[in-house]
Symmetry: D2
Subunit: 412 residues, 4 copies
């Protein structure tokens, strides 16, 4: 256990050293004790980078409880280190069953938080259903990911969301970098770690060409794969095609796929009809939030219980001799089989988180229930701090240029 704790402490310190943007913000927020006296409930993937966010908020004066937002994505060394070394109330362990998972989320809500930070919207959903007892105390929340925002917008459209939530996911400094470069890289961290298979020369299918899918397709190409994209949106389909990718319906794509990675935020992407015509030896993985993109339940109904052939790979054997493989039980592979997004990416995303919580604290009273965008100046200020930490200078507009952009009479 001591070894595990030490490993976790080192991972947290490594993260700290590579999160200079959050460091800059932390310094100010701690000085100001910006969250003094507040209680914040958090459900995030519990690993080193989220640990740094939680510690930041704690140092800025808040009382924190942290649980995992996904049963498989916890880094136990960090969980232990947070709890035993940093005295942060942490409820998370890798491989929770459903009961433990919800028990931990309930423990977070038992804090009666003033604000919540969610990833996938399970916590906020509980507040509006099974835990309405603590709902009235909650003044606002942040939501981290696409899937969660989609759920919350549906809730808001149905008139069911009862406090303001900031969609952290929709900040430029989040979705353009976290979803694209973060998911892009970490998906292949997970893939390589799980399989030790070659990417170059493979036919790799990416389901979904949103920011995550774009990132995965870009990196797959960068690693030498021949990429096929599946989409439901005609505009994105054409974009994928123009980016040099093949575009097909999934039912065609699976027939030649060596590797399939789902990143849609929707469910039932790979289902019975696909398993049936899938190529022998196909490796499937998911980088979307929930483990419902690949219908593993249907898969084991067709092929019988899988055999674990590597730490993070299950082999499903069809009666006709066909084998297919599933990474990390269909849970998001970048966290379950890899180490999650690179530190520097989360530095930007969690800086948005920290500033958004601060914004909520100051402004919740005047914000309506519903989903709110991250204020532009928060987005821009994170970008400016990031540039500063990179030592990069950029141009600024001259007065003549400003005037020109505001004018319209100067032409040819």
């Amino acid at each position: 256990m001591n070894e595990l704790l030490e490993k976790g402490v080192r991972r947290l310190e490594w993260a700290k050293d590579h999160m200079p943007v959050l460091a800059d913000i932390r310094k100010r927020m701690v000085d100001e004790q910006a969250l003094k006296g507040l209680k914040i409930g958090m459900a995030l993937h519990v690993e080193a980078k989220t640990g740094m966010l939680a510690l930041t908020l704690a140092e800025a004066g808040a009382e924190i409880r942290l649980a995992s937002c996904n049963p498989l994505s916890t880094d136990d060394s960090v969980s232990v280190a947070l709890r035993d070394h940093f005295n942060l109330e942490t409820y998370a362990k890798k491989g929770e069953d459903n009961e433990e998972y919800y028990k931990n989320l309930n423990a977070v809500l038992d804090l009666k938080p003033d604000f919540v930070i969610d990833d996938g919207a399970d916590l906020i959903t509980m507040l509006h259903t099974s835990r309405r007892d603590v709902l009235k105390n909650v003044k606002g929340g942040n939501e981290e990911t696409t899937t969660g925002v989609v759920r919350l917008r549906s809730m808001a459209n149905a008139g069911k969301l009862e406090f303001p939530v900031i969609s952290v996911n929709d900040a430029h400094m989040k979705f353009m970098f976290d979803n694209r470069y973060g998911t892009g890289q970490s998906t292949f961290d997970g893939f390589m770690n799980a399989t030790n298979l070659l990417v170059a020369g493979k036919r790799l299918v990416v389901a979904g060409y949103g920011w995550c899918g774009r990132g995965i397709a870009m990196r797959a190409k960068g690693l030498g794969a021949n990429v096929t994209v599946t989409e439901i949106d005609p505009i994105r389909a054409i974009e994928a095609r123009m980016d040099g990718f093949e575009v097909k319906p999934m039912i065609e794509a699976v027939k030649t796929a060596d590797i399939i990675i789902t990143a849609t935020g929707n469910k039932d992407i790979i289902r019975e009809e696909h398993f049936k015509v899938m190529k022998d030896g196909c490796v499937m993985g998911n980088s979307g939030h929930f483990d419902n993109e690949i219908r593993k339940d249907v898969l084991s109904k067709i092929s019988g219980q899988p055999v674990k052939v590597r730490e993070f790979v299950d082999q499903y054997n069809f009666s006709d001799g066909k084998k297919v493989y599933l990474i990390a039980d269909g849970r998001l592979m970048n966290l379950s089989a890899g180490q999650g997004h690179p530190v520097e990416i989360m530095d930007m995303s969690f800086s948005i988180q920290a500033l958004s919580i601060e914004h909520l604290v100051k402004n919740y009273a005047s914000m309506e229930a519903g989903v709110h965008n991250v204020p532009t100046d928060i987005d821009r200020s994170v970008a400016e701090i990031k540039l500063k930490t990179l030592g990069i200078q950029i141009d600024s507009l001259t007065n003549e240029q400003k005037t020109y952009l505001e004018g319209w009479q100067e032409g040819t």
Copy 2:
């Protein structure tokens, strides 16, 4: 002359054969005589693809007058073919001086058009200044390019825009493809044609990381260049960096640049301070709308009158022996030194144009003066026709998936 005309006719036919989306739309609009009895004034780069748009609108029943929106970008063969072979009233010739340029725009406005199609907003600006006599007759317009939209929004903000204008540029099927893949490719068509220089191994500086700049940087990398990006926006600066490009202020970038291409939509991007420290042998070109991104006036003041060393390249000689080069007199090089955007790109952009004019005709009465977005269903329908012409099928949502996306209660 006959040879010129024949060349123009062939170019128009080639364009027609490679614009299947517009063909699909044309067929319907001609059947319906959707523009019957209307007068439309157009100012666009006069070459084969715009020619096809103009002919489409004419065949759909409209009376058309067409002038160039840029003094250097006309393809004379097409201009002649439109006028002499297709009887379309065309007022454009390559290398117009300022007086001719405005004379031609005035000729277009003398038609007393019901609607206008503009590119860069010179025509619409004239309507609101020197040609207010015909302004009252105009019921609406389309604007094609970023630069024009920026001008029109400034106009609208100042309360000066007196009719509804659809910002064609802001359709996804326009800016994502035309500005990125179109400008990306055609800039290098112009560059290679003008210089016969190698791109691989060069330090190439792109000013601006909007959609055009992204396209240019992407293609420069694809051709083997080592790319530096200059920006004024911190978020875009970080995006450029994450895309693997160096980011610097222009004053630093020019010192090592072999090639500089501007695509900002702003003015004075390369100016006196930059010329002074620029590397010997640097080749400059512009892919932005106006020829004011590179201060050629200042350049010739410093170095004296340039020498034309190739058809589209001027050499400026500094007193200390330094030489720098300017492509196409700083006018947009993809049209002036190349053949403009690839046909298939303009097929999508001009399909948006045709449907947007049709939309204006039907709805102008209920649209307020100001800049309007292209309706989503027009955007989507162009994408769907494009997919159909490519023979590409994509997935569609199952009912369960639709319900899931609209719901919020299903979680981990």
Copy 3:
């Protein structure tokens, strides 16, 4: 005519300014009058860069006659400028028929050259067949291209080659750069100029994955195409696959090809069986040396005489309504429809040429008849001059490192 001459002079000066490696070598060879009193017959693509090579050899003391090595690749402006402005005996004009072509090569041989510089080996073949009268005078030659070297090796294997020939093509500073980066870029210069079609999103088939094919595939990918490679060599086929390309036999590839480019150095690559199943609208071009890679004779037998639809594009109409297009009559498109390899590439290739001729002059007496490699020190010296002109410094081995590389006892 004057305008043409002036254009040619400007193009030669532009080339001169962008060929710093050759300039460095020229300076020394002129100072030394290294070729004084010698007669050199040359058959090369007559355009600005070869013009600079010819002028270099002339200034170094040689008497030169220059003809074109390809009936379609001459830049008339340069041909005229060389002859009328620089007084170099030049026999070349764009669009020669077969009779003129051979008349010009004969004129070159009438000089009774001491050395020959050939590209494609037509000149050297004539020396060994129809022009054996002047063969005895020839002491050696250079051959520029893969196709020519293949022919000459066959000749040498058959015991028919009667003087030493340096295979310039096999220098690293030639084939790695000229064949790959040169052909890669100039093929698309030709493609864009000929067609104004989009590359992004197209299925582009490259026939042959030698250095030229690799360059074309790399640039096609860089421009956004989805690339298929055809090969006859299994090792190259796997390399293409690992580079992320699809590999197929041609008979399958043509069925979905939007664009096909041949670069094999072999004949009959696209033949009757392929035309029959080719996709409607397919655009074909050739970047190999001879115009026999695409069987245009068979094509016009099937479809009837083609219609010229753009300056460098012929349209072939099949009886069932299918249209296919051929660029530049199947002649190498980068020179026929574009401006040939970028200047800087030819700077390196022609520096190898100049130093190889100098080497032949000094050493022919001791060289056996047959095909010889470029001496390694010539290759390396061109690389070093190129680095110098780029202002790039590189590392050198320490003494310890040299010793280490020569030793073997130091291990784990």
Copy 4:
């Protein structure tokens, strides 16, 4: 221990399932008992893929002893599984000290092998120095890697190599794929696993532009890095530049490097002068064979003993506050911090190994002492089996094409 063994068995089975080329060869060699009665000593990185090679040779009739060729690269689970489950004499454990390392190699030689398979040439060097007692029994050997081949060529040049060795490394199916795509991918598997740092947007320096360096640079670019290459060879330096990379001497490159990866096969690449000017926070790793490319001894002399900050990362603290990081103690990071080359790559390399040993067995008597190339037909046959297992068909020459390639008289 049982868990470890089970993990190793599963890893070996996974490898078996993904090495179809070797499977094809194994089938024949086992049927023929091609190595019956022979003793083979092997020193390779002991992990799943080499395990499959060893098992293949054993099943083909040979008596095998296997040790590790590197103290840090052993996968203990595989080592245990080979020994305890497959009864293969295996002497290897991760983290051997120098004494254990050589004890294990000696155990292999105690077998008195007929043939040896080496990786880095430590085994062959021992045979010619400390273990001359068993030298006379050895009839031939294979060497796997660039570093080993360089050592053996030095030995042969010095007249010290006393039996024939096949340079497996020089087969096309080895160096083009293993060194390039294998090292390219596995270096980043190691990097991500060790650091969880982002590659995109980083300045990454690659030392050496041989096949390994090319692979690393290509993948670094594919992951979004901005790459600098250092070289000692001017031709490779220009190739790197033309591939779009910056080229600099190391002393300049370290000043801005975020990440440095060495892959030269030489020693002392990063040394005192470089550490002194290195950027704060720089992460160093090595993908070359030996751990002498980065002078960690000098580094700890300057900065004091390092602190282990992650499982495979040491942090060196300079007195001025600068921190730099070293991955896997400077040992080859793809094996020490990652899982080594992807299975499919090793399938090709080890198929070359198996066929080369078979070739030695049949032909050693007629082969001179010295370094021999892999016979072309072995190279080609591995490529053909690989294509077959991929289901890829390629073209073959027609008779007319063969005749044409052999002829020379057909020209323009």
